[in-house]
């Protein structure tokens, strides 16, 4: 995930649909990184519904997240996030792609320790395990929109990153978050992630 600086940055404005993709990745990264705080809940509660005529599943999930955000408060969100994703060792919902992708290396003690420390917020972001979902989503955001000293990546690069690292893992995250006994708000987050990432999956099959 090392950013490669592009010497001459050509800042062409992103097409609307590409900017929207980057925004969805930014939102997913943020929501899986930490519980939404009051200002994010407020912003989501006041967000516009998606226009009719588009992907029905995405529109429905977005509407449900808006509704849930207006009903949720900061403290309840924090409790739920901790119940789902927190704790030392095994949490009900893993935020690490390798857990769902069946990577052998996930059992390596060093990886386990690193994951546990990351769960405690003790790992500097440069040492965060690379399969940490918020990092994967944020990487996609940067590949689409540019940032961190680089411009947008090519579609081929985006496709390769997505298909290598997110495609094998995201269905497991969505399923785990949706099925967790203590999930409430994050069930809506999972539904939005599923709807958006299904669109991404299909779009990468096209040129």
């Amino acid at each position: 995930m090392n950013a490669v600086a592009i010497p001459v940055a050509v800042h062409r404005p992103l097409a609307a649909e590409e900017a929207a993709r980057a925004d969805f990745y930014a939102l997913l990264s943020r929501l899986f990184q930490a519980a939404p705080d009051g200002s994010l809940l407020h912003a989501l509660a006041g967000a516009e519904p998606l226009p009719a005529g588009g992907d029905a599943r995405l529109a429905k999930a977005w509407g449900a997240l808006i509704a849930a955000s207006s009903a949720m408060d900061e403290d309840a969100a924090l409790d739920e996030y901790d119940a789902l994703f927190g704790g030392v060792g095994k949490s009900p919902v893993s935020l690490y792609g390798g857990f769902y992708a069946g990577a052998m290396a996930i059992d390596h003690p060093r990886v386990r320790i690193r994951a546990d420390l990351a769960g405690l917020g003790l790992t500097p972001h440069v040492d965060e395990p690379e399969d940490f979902f918020p990092g994967l989503f944020d990487a996609m955001r940067v590949l689409i929109a540019g940032g961190a000293g680089r411009g947008p990546a090519t579609l081929q690069e985006q496709r390769r990153f997505f298909q290598s690292h997110l495609a094998p893992a995201w269905p497991g995250l969505v399923k785990a978050a949706d099925g967790a006994a203590k999930a409430n708000y994050y069930r809506q987050v999972a539904a939005l992630a599923a709807a958006f990432l299904a669109i991404e999956t299909e779009s990468f099959e096209l040129d």
Binding site: M1, A3, A15, A16, E17, A19, A20, R21, D23, F24, A26, L27, S29, R30, Q33, A34, S39, A43, L44, G46, A47, E48, L50, G54, D55, R57, L58, A59, W62, L78, Y81, D82, F85, V88, G119, L120, G121, L122, T123, H125, V126, E128, P129, P134, G135, L136, D138, A139, R141, V142, G149, R150, L155, A198, I199, E202, S203, E205, L206, D207
Partner: protein, 65 residues
């Protein structure tokens, strides 16, 4: 979402409605941007409920090589 093999990627994304969500998503981006760490896996910050207690500190020490 039905398969759209005959269309191109941009038309597919526009048909999914992504061309028209700018206003909706932008309000969220404005809120999240200041917390995002560009180009890197973000750290789990204080907002995730982490507190450095004695117990956690002790646990952390056991992991030092």
């Amino acid at each position: 979402m039905k398969k759209a093999k005959t269309t191109n990627r941009r038309d597919f994304l526009l048909a999914a409605g992504l061309g028209g969500v700018g206003a909706a998503a932008a309000v969220v981006t404005a809120t999240t941007q200041k917390q995002a760490v560009p180009g890197a896996a973000p750290t789990v910050d204080k907002a995730s409920g982490y507190r450095m207690t004695e117990h956690i500190e002790k646990y952390y020490k056991t992991t030092e090589v």
